[in-house]
Each structure stands twice: as structure tokens, then as C-alpha cells.
């Protein structure tokens, strides 16, 4: 047995030469790690932390969120082009949306804010309150600012100043599955989905037909997006979230009607997928994209995803897009704007402005909107036939007239969480819509004091 043991020990142990090799390799990795850019998004040569690299080249830190595979190459190519054009290093970092807010707050609070960052416009109030943002009126009030749609440019204004440049926008429309409509005896080319009642009638007909899929996707999970799916109902019934003084007004009679409709779709009419409380917005979008749902309120990329999937023979169904249904007090499409901002901690504000101007070259904007599936924020881009003539994009460009953004509140996250709780309480039949909203109103008043 002795020889066996010796053999094994020979295999498992590391002799001095191997140890030195391992240490050398480890050292090389450590050195490489130190000279890299931490969470750098892959633009290899960047220097971390400082304002200039060893070569004396200035660097600008660019933080953004949620760069998926479809857009990664866009940033890599354009950052490289900016580096060549301005003889600078772009330290590009992308974080997932889940970590985005915490990352931003940590970096701002820790005095390590990036020079330029992209985030949702709804974060502006909190960051302005921390004196974290540089006003950009000098850019937005001049020729540069004239290229944006008025409503989009307005989305970056807080306390009378622009605290960002609109980077991207998104709104929503109602998708319907033409195959399901046909099976249910509805006209797929003229779906008559103008009002919520029309939508409910169609859903009821689908429910009672041979169509083997749920008629309507309803979001109710504990996620921020549940609020953004519901607010269409809320606003179109004449309800609001806050008044002119920024105080909550979530339990008006219109709000009760809206939440009643939302919950009745599930509890009374049974036209939704089972257990909406388990479903996030992404879940119901996925169901629709799989062809397993009659209707869903979704973004433009839902259509783009289906088109791509059809080209790859992954799904086989036709769909149509109409405006989000109208309520008794109008029609609204939730409008979300992402902005590019310059941080007040930045020591390279001029360079940061150059980077922003660089990214607003018309062709670059066109490529970004096209690849990412966001609505153009620059008028000249939006007017291109690629968008206006497209079956996927056309309805969303038209929906711009119904656009409405969430209120800019420094504690919007807390506000929205409480609204989602009210929606869940009603959807779970734990409270009546009136009681759920009354309780939410009371809690929100306390929170906003």
C-alpha cells in the first residue's frame, strides 16, 4: 500500500517550482486586476479612480444601467470613438437595474460619484436633494436642447432647472394576439379595443371561447412595475397620485373605480391569468411573447422581441398593437424617461459635457433607439420613416400624445410600494378597493409629512 500513498501524495502536493509558478501567476493576475477598471464594462485600457492615467490622458467615468447584449457593442464602439476623438479614457461601468440605485447612492455618498451617469428621471429629486447633480440649463436652454421633444425635455426639469439630458423614453400600448382574437370570433383587424369596457368585452369573449389561453395579462406581484401597469387605469378614471402641493390623493372616487376595475378583471370576470399576485410585468410580457395570452399592456420591445422570435421560427402567431384603452376621463400611456446627468462631484465637467454632446449625434441616437427598443427622444430621429412607418414603432410614436409621467417625488419608491400594497390587498380580496386606498392614503399622508 505504501507505493500507492506515495503516488497520491506526489500528485496532490505542489513542489517548490510549481509553487513559485503559481505565486507568479497570482501576482500577475493581481497586478492586472489593480491596473484594470474594477467593474469596467470591458474597455480594457482604462485607469481606475483618478482623473488621468499613467500616460497623462484624462479619464471620464461613465456609469449606466442595464446594458444588455443588444446594446453592449453600441457602447463599446462609441466609447472607443470618443476616446480617439478627445484623447481621453472612458471608464465605462454598467450595473444591473437591481443594483443600480444602491450603486449610485453608495458612490455619491462615498464621494466617488462618476462624472456622467444614466438613470431614470424619477431619481432626480432625491439626487438634487443631496446636491449630487449639476444643473444643465446651459446645455438644455440652448441650441442643444432644441433637438428634444418638448414633453421629453420637460421630464428632466426639477425645481425649475434641467438636471439631466433626456437619454431614452418609453411608453406603452395594448398588444393583442390576432390568432386568439380570431379563435374567439373577434375581428383581428378591427379589434375595437378603444375603452376599458371594450377590452373587458373582448376578454370575456375570449374567456368563453375555445381559445385555450388567458384573455388578459394582469400584473400584481410585489414589484415596482405593478404600479406602472396599474396607473393607466388610475389616471384614465380621473384619479391622481399627488396634488399640486405634492400631497397624496390616491383614494378619490375615480381611484376606487379604477382599482375596482383592475381587481374585478381577476376576481369577478376571471379573464386574467391565474394568480396575478404571482405575476410581474415581465411574466405577463413573457406569456404574451410566447403566444400564451390574449392581451397585454407592453412596451415597444415586446413587439420587437416577437418579430425577432418569428424570424427565428421560435413562435408563430400574429399580433396587433392599439392604444392603451380610454377611461371615463381620458387615455394615458405611462411615460418613462431616462436621463444622462453630470454629477456635481465630477472634476471633469467639461469633458462630461463633451461626452453627452458626442452621444447626441443624430445617427448615434438613431442606432441606439433602433437597437435598444426605446422611443427616440430627439425629434429628428423620431421623424425618420424607420419609426413612423413601422408597425411596431408607429403606435408608440402615436402614443406620445397620451404620455404621462409619474410624479417627481423624492420618496417615490416608498410611495409606489404603498400603492402596490393597496393593489395587492384588493387583488387578494383582503380589502375592498375603497378600504385599500383609504389605508394607503392614510399611510402616505404620514410618510409625506
Amino acid at each position: 500500500m505504501q507505493p500507492d500513498n506515495n503516488d497520491r501524495s506526489g500528485e496532490d502536493s505542489i513542489d517548490r517550482r510549481r509553487l513559485l509558478q503559481a505565486l507568479g501567476a497570482g501576482g500577475a493576475i493581481a497586478i492586472a486586476g489593480c491596473s484594470g477598471g474594477g467593474e469596467s464594462g470591458g474597455d480594457g485600457d482604462s485607469e481606475s479612480g483618478g482623473g488621468s492615467g499613467d500616460s497623462g490622458t484624462q479619464s471620464v467615468q461613465f456609469l449606466t444601467m442595464g446594458v444588455g447584449d443588444n446594446i453592449k457593442q453600441f457602447f463599446e464602439e462609441n466609447n472607443a470613438a470618443f476616446e480617439d476623438e478627445h484623447d481621453v479614457d472612458v471608464e465605462f461601468t454598467s450595473v444591473t437595474w437591481d443594483n443600480a440605485r444602491q450603486t449610485v447612492n453608495n458612490r455619491v455618498d462615498g464621494g466617488e460619484a462618476p462624472d456622467v451617469s444614466r438613470w431614470p428621471a424619477r431619481w432626480i429629486p432625491q439626487l438634487v436633494g443631496k446636491d449630487a447633480l449639476e444643473p444643465l440649463d446651459d446645455m438644455m436652454d440652448g441650441e442643444f436642447g432644441e433637438q428634444f421633444y418638448d414633453g421629453v425635455a420637460e421630464g428632466t426639469v426639477y425645481n425649475g432647472s434641467h438636471y439631466g439630458v433626456p437619454w431614452a423614453a418609453s411608453n406603452k400600448c395594448l398588444y393583442y394576439n390576432k390568432d386568439v382574437f380570431e379563435t374567439a370570433g373577434l375581428d383581428p383587424e378591427d379589434p375595437s379595443l378603444d375603452s376599458w369596457q371594450d377590452m373587458l368585452d373582448a376578454a370575456t369573449q375570449i374567456r368563453d371561447s375555445d381559445a385555450s389561453v388567458p384573455a388578459l395579462g394582469l400584473a400584481g406581484a410585489d414589484a415596482i412595475e405593478t404600479g406602472s401597469q396599474y396607473y393607466h387605469y388610475h389616471w384614465s378614471h380621473g384619479a391622481d397620485l399627488v396634488d399640486d402641493e405634492g400631497m397624496p390623493v390616491v383614494n378619490s372616487s375615480g381611484a376606487v373605480d379604477a382599482l375596482s376595475l383592475y381587481t374585478d378583471l381577476h376576481l369577478e370576470h376571471n379573464v386574467t391569468q391565474s394568480s396575478p399576485l404571482s405575476s410581474t410585468r415581465q411574466d405577463i410580457r413573457q406569456l404574451f411573447e410566447n403566444g400564451d395570452l390574449g392581451m397585454v399592456i407592453g412596451h415597444v420591445y415586446t413587439g420587437l422581441n416577437i418579430t425577432a422570435a418569428k424570424e427565428n421560427d421560435e413562435v408563430d402567431f400574429d399580433y396587433g398593437i392599439v392604444q392603451v384603452p380610454r377611461g371615463p376621463e381620458g387615455r394615458y400611456s405611462l411615460f418613462t424617461i431616462d436621463t444622462l446627468a453630470i454629477l456635481s462631484q465630477s472634476e471633469h465637467k467639461d469633458l462630461a459635457r463633451d461626452l453627452i454632446r458626442f452621444y447626441f449625434d443624430e445617427e448615434r441616437r438613431f442606432q441606439y433607439s433602433k437597437q435598444k427598443g426605446f422611443l427616440p427622444v430627439v425629434e429628428a430621429v423620431g421623424e425618420r420613416s424607420y419609426f413612423s412607418d413601422s408597425e411596431n414603432w408607429g403606435p408608440f410614436v402615436e402614443a406620445g400624445q397620451y404620455a404621462r409621467a409619474r410624479p417627481k417625488l423624492s420618496n417615490f419608491s416608498e410611495f409606489n410600494d404603498r400603492m402596490v400594497q393597496a393593489i395587492q390587498e384588493a387583488l387578494a380580496d383582503r380589502k375592498s378597493p375603497q378600504k385599500a386606498l383609504n389605508d394607503a392614503q392614510s399611510d402616505l399622508e404620514d410618510a409625506m409629512e
Binding site: 436633494g129 406581484a221 410585489d222 391565474s274 416608498e414 402596490v420
Partner: protein
């Protein structure tokens, strides 16, 4: 000065003198442990003190300005219904999770100790769940339990047991069970391995003697295995309790604390209040309360288990 006072003073002096003498006698030892003590104070003590300090301040999300509010956060927390609901939900989560992991771990350990076919394979296989990052396991379980996309519902539908998908994680009454199952699956291998190590340290002679005396398997387990495993069970369940109490990934990934906050524990609420909503002071107050709960629990737990004179 009365006799009693003289005695007290003399006693105090002698205490002080004895103390000084003790320190002088051991000065070299104190000097040697000083760096480690300073390091511990810095990395363990400072965060605790800073959390307590923070809990005395109002720190709104949209401002860097902190306002001293004293114990206001604590008063409001103890006055709120949410706190007591969170306590109940946290207790339910910890008790069910630790009990499940302990019982299942013990069962697996007892079977793995036996001379079963493929023992090495099973010992390795049972470790796999523990080797997977918690968040990944939680995502997998979320999908398993999903009403539209999940395997669980697909199987039940195929068998005709249900007519449409059941949203376990969307039902406020049972969502916590759906999360506990995932936590038990993740945490059981640790318990099993610890128990297995404990079982292997029990002298085989005890079982042989018991068998000769005619003790059946159950009696051997009851009167030999369990008492011999006592200290192992103590440590394993204490650690498991602490880990389950502060567990965040599984709940957050699977339900985000919902629906209607039905799966939220103290830790989830701390994250929501302190980091999501930016109310750091309130979040810190909840953290201090949670810390005190664990601290008191650990002391009571150890007292009870070491009452018989056992040492860890």
C-alpha cells in the same frame, strides 16, 4: 466611620489593588492581544456603535442632513402594528426553517452514516444545494413554483390534480411556505454534514453494548445518538437560527417580501425602509432591535443547553 464602612472601603481597596496587581502581572499578555483586540473593536464594535448612533437620527433620502431625534424611531416602531407582524413572520420563518433543516439534516445524516450502497456519491450529492449561490437557488424555486411557467404546477396539471396553475408565491396565506421550502432545501446539507460528523464521533462500542442488551434501533437513537449529538445539535441549530434570522437572498429573490408583505421578515423590512426608501435612521433602529433579539436569544439558548454542565 462605622465598622461596616471601614470593611467596605478596605474591601474596595483590596479589590482595586488586586485588579491592578492582576493587570501588572499579565501586562505582557494584554500587550500581545492588544492588536487583535483593537482590530476586533474596529471591525465588530464600530459598525454596531455606528448603527446605534444612526438609529438616533432622522436621515431622509433626499438630504445629507441628519437630525437628532433620540429614541423616536424606537417609540414609533414599538407603537406600530407592522413591527409585531414582522416579529410573528420572522419567528414563523425561523422556527419552520430551522426545524425543517434540522430534522431533514438529521434524517439524511443518519442514513448517510449507515453502510448504504453509493454512500460516497450521496454524501457528495447532498452537498450540492449548499454549494449553489442562494440567489440562484431562489430563482430556481421561484420558477418551480410559478403558476404559468413552473414544473410543480405543470406536473399537478398533467396529473389532473388542479385545473389551473396555483400561485403559491402569490397567495398571501401560503407564500411563506413556498419560500421556507427553498430555504430548507438550501440549508439542509450543512446540517446533514455537521450531524454526520457528530454521528461519526460517537463510539461504536456504545451501540454494540446496547444491541447486546437488546436495545432496538429507536432506543439506540433515543438514548445514545441524541444525547451524544447534543452539543453538535446545539451549535448547528444556533448557527442555523442566526443565519435564517438574517437571511435575505432567498426571500428577496423569490417574493421581494410580498405579497402584501406576507413574507417580509425583519431583515427584509430593514432593507426596504433603510436602503430602498432611504430612511436610514429607521432602518438602523430596526437593525438594533434585531441585533438585540439575536443577542438575547443566543445567551438564553446557550444557558439552557449548558445548564447540565456541558461545555461547548
Amino acid at each position: 466611620m462605622s465598622l461596616a464602612e471601614e470593611y467596605t472601603e478596605a474591601s474596595d481597596n483590596s479589590h482595586l489593588e488586586r485588579g491592578v496587581a492582576y493587570v501588572q502581572r499579565n501586562s505582557r499578555a494584554y500587550l500581545l492581544i492588544a492588536p487583535a483586540a483593537v482590530f476586533l473593536l474596529a471591525v465588530v464594535g464600530y459598525p454596531i456603535i455606528e448603527t446605534f448612533r444612526l438609529s438616533l437620527y432622522q436621515s431622509p433620502a433626499d438630504s445629507n442632513i441628519e437630525t437628532f431625534v433620540g429614541l423616536q424611531h424606537y417609540v414609533e416602531i414599538f407603537d406600530s402594528d407592522i413591527f409585531y407582524r414582522l416579529l410573528w413572520q420572522t419567528g414563523r420563518w425561523v422556527v419552520a426553517g430551522v426545524a425543517g433543516k434540522t430534522l431533514l439534516g438529521l434524517l439524511i445524516a443518519v442514513h448517510l452514516k449507515g453502510d448504504i450502497r453509493g454512500r460516497k456519491f450521496f454524501r457528495t450529492a447532498f452537498l450540492i444545494p449548499w454549494g449553489i449561490p442562494y440567489a440562484i437557488s431562489a430563482v430556481v424555486f421561484r420558477w418551480i413554483e410559478h403558476p404559468q411557467f413552473g414544473y410543480l404546477n405543470a406536473i399537478l396539471l398533467k396529473l389532473g390534480i388542479i385545473e389551473q396553475g396555483v400561485g403559491i408565491l402569490g397567495n398571501p396565506s401560503i407564500a411563506w411556505l413556498g419560500v421556507v421550502v427553498a430555504d430548507i432545501w438550501i440549508g439542509t446539507p450543512f446540517m446533514a454534514i455537521i450531524f454526520l460528523a457528530g454521528l461519526q464521533s460517537i463510539p461504536q462500542e456504545l451501540y454494540e453494548a446496547a444491541a447486546i442488551d437488546g436495545a432496538e434501533k429507536w432506543h439506540q437513537f433515543r438514548y445514545i445518538t441524541l444525547p451524544q449529538l447534543k452539543s453538535v445539535v446545539l451549535i448547528a441549530t444556533l448557527l442555523s437560527t442566526i443565519w435564517t434570522f438574517v437571511s435575505f437572498d432567498v426571500i428577496w429573490t423569490m417574493t421581494g417580501g410580498g405579497p402584501i408583505s406576507s413574507t417580509a421578515t425583519l431583515v427584509i423590512h430593514i432593507y426596504q425602509v433603510g436602503l430602498q426608501n432611504g430612511n436610514l435612521g429607521r432602518g438602523a433602529a430596526y437593525s438594533v432591535i434585531g441585533f438585540l433579539f439575536l443577542f438575547v436569544f443566543a445567551i438564553i439558548y446557550l444557558r439552557i443547553y449548558t445548564r447540565g454542565g456541558d461545555e461547548l
